[in-house]
Symmetry: C2
Subunit: 373 residues, 2 copies
């Protein structure tokens, strides 16, 4: 297992590695041994850049050792895009990150998410609206995903947490640090109830150009992006544009023409974003896309739906029943359970974290001896 973690940390620091190249390498060498026995010709064929090949040929061993130590100490996951637990919505989005660092309840990433973003300097009304909407979404079983920035982002996370819901924060820097520092307590509460996510390895600072990349993950994880308050040119509009590019819904809350922080929302509405007056407006739209997704799945009792205890337990029982003691692939489990791959992936992660299931090479899983469902 240590060998695999080492290869994942190597991959996570490989310049120019995208999800397609990672997946190609994982398909060619399921144990990822190509990362620490690099074959330049093979890597080039699989889509790696010269920068990436140079790094893999002569990696910074001290840094890798530090990464592994940090992963171990910080209880963070490093989730490759080929893992069943990697969120399907993000996998289907443009420019999906090849690997994600995750701190907290990684299974949240498989749940239906709504991105909520906005200004760092909102009006008092905008902040209250963000908190109220997030609380209502959380109560209805939607995970609220945002960027942990000052202002609207923080209000959205707080609103979801206050309602006892899940929330995911995507960061523009390594998970070993926190920006802004004053959100340390909020970050800890998010990690306990939800998850902190980053594509950046430990030690990487929140550089300006990281924010649009962070925003694409927020948009990519989510069924839609709701902009609460945003100035005419702002990062929130980038997130909204990325959501639109990824084929996700874009929502915006209008406001007074005398509030400069309504300009961004109004611009989005002019460009086709759905005008939102209340949380129900968002749910009405999302219901359509979620319903379409559920109809596509052969079994409705999947996790990630607004939590109905019984149904959830039933799905887990079906999955555990289907897990024999010899390793089985996700495809096999789909066949045995009738559940869809995304549901199975997030449930496997929960079961793995709870010690019910053991991962095996080649994306196979088995039930742990000595545990009962």
């Amino acid at each position: 297992m240590d060998e695999r973690w080492r290869r994942l940390t190597l991959a996570a620091r490989t310049p120019g590695l995208d999800a397609a190249a990672f997946a190609a390498i994982a398909a060619a060498t399921p144990d990822l041994e190509l990362f620490d026995r690099p074959d330049p010709a093979a890597l080039t064929r699989l889509g790696l850049t010269t920068d990436g090949i140079r790094w893999l040929s002569n990696p910074d061993e001290a840094r890798l050792a530090a990464d592994l130590r940090w992963l171990d100490e910080s209880r963070c996951l490093l989730l490759p895009c080929t893992a069943a637990a990697y969120p399907q919505m993000l996998r289907e989005s443009p420019d999906a990150p090849p690997l994600l660092y995750v701190r907290g309840r990684a299974e949240c990433l498989g749940e239906p998410q709504l991105a909520m973003v906005g200004s760092r300097n909102p009006s008092a009304g905008g902040r209250a609206t963000a908190r109220r909407f997030a609380g209502q979404f959380a109560q209805l079983g939607l995970t609220v995903t945002s960027g942990l920035a000052l202002g609207i982002d923080a209000a959205c996370h707080e609103g979801a947490l206050g309602a006892g819901g899940n929330t995911v924060a995507v960061l523009a820097h390594g998970l070993d640090d926190l920006y802004p520092r004053e959100h340390q307590d909020l970050a800890d509460r998010i990690a306990a109830a939800g998850a902190l996510v980053s594509e950046f390895p430990p030690g990487v600072a929140a550089l300006n150009h990281h924010f649009p990349r962070r925003n694409r993950i927020i948009a990519g994880l989510s069924h839609g992006t709701l902009v609460i308050e945003a100035a005419a040119r702002s990062g929130s509009l980038i997130t909204a544009r990325l959501a639109g590019n990824a084929g996700r819904e874009v929502f915006a809350i209008p406001g007074s023409i005398y509030n400069p922080l309504s300009r961004g929302c109004h611009a989005l509405i002019r460009q086709g974003a759905k005008l939102v007056e209340c949380p129900e407006d968002v749910l009405a739209e999302l219901k359509i896309s979620l319903a379409a997704q559920l109809l596509a799945a052969p079994e409705n009792d999947a996790p990630g739906q607004p939590r109905a205890g019984g149904a959830l337990d039933k799905a887990y029982k079906i999955l555990l029943d289907a897990l024999a003691f010899e390793p089985a692939s996700v495809d096999t489990l789909i066949e045995r359970t009738g559940l869809n791959s995304e549901s199975i992936a997030s449930m496997l992660l929960v079961l793995e974290l709870d010690g019910h299931v053991a991962p095996h090479p080649g994306g196979r899983y088995s039930r742990m001896a000595g545990h009962s469902a």
Copy 2:
């Protein structure tokens, strides 16, 4: 001439008479004698209803005499849809009124108009916005058309008047009365700077079902309709819908989701109305339709454009030069001047009111002896 006015007052009170039927009668009998020598078979063929034919066969002579007296005393015009001075935009709109009572400067009706409507009980902010926008439109040469109601309507008229511009008020009752009474002073100022308009004969009260009919005239006169503040179900939304049905632009100003008077505007924006943050947003859209209209006209120096004194005078001079002392039809004048029919119609009305031009039967005009251009 008295004979013609009598026939027009007869027509104005004929139940079920629409613009098409009026135009058909005017085409069959240019002096409109069919109205006071009614031939039921001919009238039926021309589209009149039995109610209409019954009224024409046995009109209330005392009422007609009162109508004629009132027209004379009040200095109101009764403008049939076949008159050159009848506004072309309204003529092209669905269910155009066959005749319009006009008090004030009837030539305003030929100028490019923007309808501005909204709640009778606006917020202070909505009222201020209405006044400010109307002032800016008026300064830019757009005539502001509204319904003289309390609240937003009044603020729009006031804003246009305050900026020294033109404004048109369309009423839901006969022009011999005024509803609401507290707007008497405002109505007088509108009649002096612009025009009061109604399709209802004197003595007709402001019944509930007259307001949607009044609204269709507001929408029909205008290149577009801008809704400032409106509750979820309100008359302003009817005006906006009628504007849309007439193929005119619909504009709406967004507001706080906590302002119930933003609901109507937000509903319109969801249905495709243009979101407006500033007057320029409206002008940018209207410019397109006005430019298209100007390009269709063979001569750009038409009245009704944002007033450039010299150009206006030049057009009037061309028209007066083209008016010989024998009566000429509008078609002849189009040929002689290269101006379009709408421009000629509104200029003829101005010249007629100023005593430069005399009207003749059959829609012909001549220059008055003893006047020089």
